[in-house]
Amino acid sequence: MLPNKRGKFGPFGGRFVPETLMPALTELEEAYRRLRRDPGFRRELAWYLREYAGRPTPLYPARRLSEALGGHLRIYLKREDLLHTGAHKINNTLGQVLLARRMGKRRIIAETGAGQHGVATATAAALLGLECVVYMGAKDTVRQAMNVFRMELLGARVVPVKSGTQTLKDAINEAIRDWVTNVETTFYVIGSVVGPHPYPMMVRDFQSVIGRETRRQILKLEGRLPDMVIACVGGGSNAMGIFYPFVRDQVVKLVGVEAAGQGLESDRHSATLTVGEPGVLHGMLTYLLQDRVGQIKGAHSIAPGLDYPGVGPEHAFLRECGRAEYVAVDDEEALSAFRLLSETEGIIPALESAHAVAYLVKIADRLPRDTIVVVNLSGRGDKDVAAVRDYLSGKMA
């Protein structure tokens, strides 16, 4: 079972944090290991996921998309976009905020990039009546002003972070600084399978409800496992969530799709596993976008949720041992897939999820007849509609 006791997935992962946080991470790990086997906690989480968030989500056969891609594939969409708050993020925040309450922590902090995880955390905190502070890069608060307002409506305080690149990575730094200062009273809800141990393991576990449902649903619908599972990867939580229950099924090909942004040669991308190199950031050893000296570079993608210069350590491990394959598609390809799915299925996907669809579009011709492909549709695109309109009109002008 991975990770090992020290939080390592092979060489990756671990706990590279200031000493002040080490006892808190041990406390968190112990509480989590105890509660994940606790029937009361499991029932409580399952209840909220079902009655509040809207699980299980459908595994939807995308017939018109299949036709558009040649008609020879059996394509299924895992509809995480139908969840409350519009994406898979709520699976994790409900789990962590319930855990926080059980641990007696009254104050919740989180980081957010595009605002999806911030909204999902503020939602769970409102639901359970806990104080919530969300750190967000100052640039992102401008780009995602509606999400800032959403979080405020939900009773959270949003703190703009003006240091560094003023984006997600700096928001994480600031959340960690808050945690170092208020560690006794505060629970840090990390939004992806990143950070120091036990976060990558814990977030994976909370998200693997996606893969467990998918496995059950596809066996019922098709009587066999899928040939391929495709998911987008920023930090990698929706991908880890759908991959994990299939990791031992060697027949299932797992494909993570990163953001090639404006191109892998451009320095304007987020393709950490595709072109990054190992290093240490935010408490973990993993693949990073960094310069020769080891300074962390800014990331870019048209999909704000993929815009992160690191990636979950378990993905680094799955890549290293060859169990999963990681590829990248660029902004243009993601936009085409965004439109294709909207037009063929009446589903406007999040730009993040559109990357996974885009990769399927790219390789569809090469796949044999009756290949069963599951695409994790991790979120819906309402949040991106304005940005896409601006992008397209800018291009036409």
Partner: protein, 268 residues
């Protein structure tokens, strides 16, 4: 004498004179390397014992706004560890008297290669390293290389560190043990925790190496209060603020301020 021994000796030397050793922190390249050189000489003339010289990192998550800003100013020069070591070697070629330890986040060292860094650090005369995001559980590869080259591997302990863990940290720390005064990040503070003195005394009981206290210490009164309870005292953000305000004219002011701090280290 190894780097670790030089650091320890410098602290012992101050203690023999009835003082706590003063360890100032500065960020290299803030605002430029020529100023850093002048500042280091000013520290030596003012009576500091050991120098903690920061290598800037893009994501300094244990630092408050003052040192974050210094880091940003320094990063404009696109510094490399090769240049850092060259700079240190240059200082020692000019006869610089104080032991220098680097304070830096792990990734640049990891990327440089720990074996290579330890070897070249020793050649340059650098005496050791403080790596704030490298706790005990992850430190083994670095501790091995540091030991092999005689470099001080200065570990941190915090108010949240349980007693049994504190002992294990103290056992592997060489040069000195860095006790973090507050549960928090770096930066000047009006008040230090009330039980700090008690915690320091406990820390010194279990530590086989000298104990330095740092984080939040900015004024001579605070130094005077802590001097009897620690072998050494680290002051960072308060100096960096002077550098921020005065730039290349800062060495004179820093020298006067550090002189005041040093005279407050008397353990009467």
């Amino acid at each position: 004498m190894t780097g670790a021994e030089r650091v320890r000796q410098a602290i012992k030397e101050a203690n023999r004179k009835g003082r706590a050793a003063l360890i100032p922190y500065l960020c290299a390249w803030d605002p430029d390397l020529a100023t850093t050189r002048a500042l280091l000489w000013a520290l030596a003339e003012a009576g500091a014992s050991v120098v903690e010289l920061g290598f800037p990192f893009s994501d300094p998550l244990a630092d408050g706004p003052t040192i974050q800003a210094a880091t940003q100013r320094a990063l404009r020069h696109k510094p490399t560890l090769e240049e850092f070591l060259e700079f240190v070697a240059g200082l020692y070629a000019e006869g610089y008297p104080l032991p220098i330890v680097v304070m830096g986040y792990y990734n640049p060292f990891f990327r440089f290669g720990l074996e290579r860094f330890a070897r070249e650090a020793r050649e340059a005369g650098l005496c050791g390293a403080i790596i704030p995001d490298l706790p005990l559980e992850e430190a083994r590869p670095w501790l091995r290389e540091a030991r092999r080259r005689g470099l001080a591997s200065i570990m941190l302990a915090a108010p949240t560190t349980p007693a049994e863990r504190l002992e294990r940290i103290a056992q592997v720390s060489t040069g000195f043990l860095y006790y973090v005064s507050v549960t928090g990040i770096t930066g000047a503070r009006e008040r230090l925790p009330e039980d700090l003195v008690l915690r320091l005394d406990l820390c010194r009981e279990v530590s086989p190496v000298p104990v330095a206290v740092g984080f939040g210490i900015a004024r001579p009164e605070q130094v005077r209060m802590l001097a009897p309870h620690a072998e050494a005292i680290v002051v960072g953000s308060a100096l960096v603020k002077i550098v921020e305000a005065e730039g290349s004219r800062s060495p004179e002011k820093v020298k006067r301020f550090v002189k005041d701090l040093v005279s407050a280290t008397e353990r009467s």
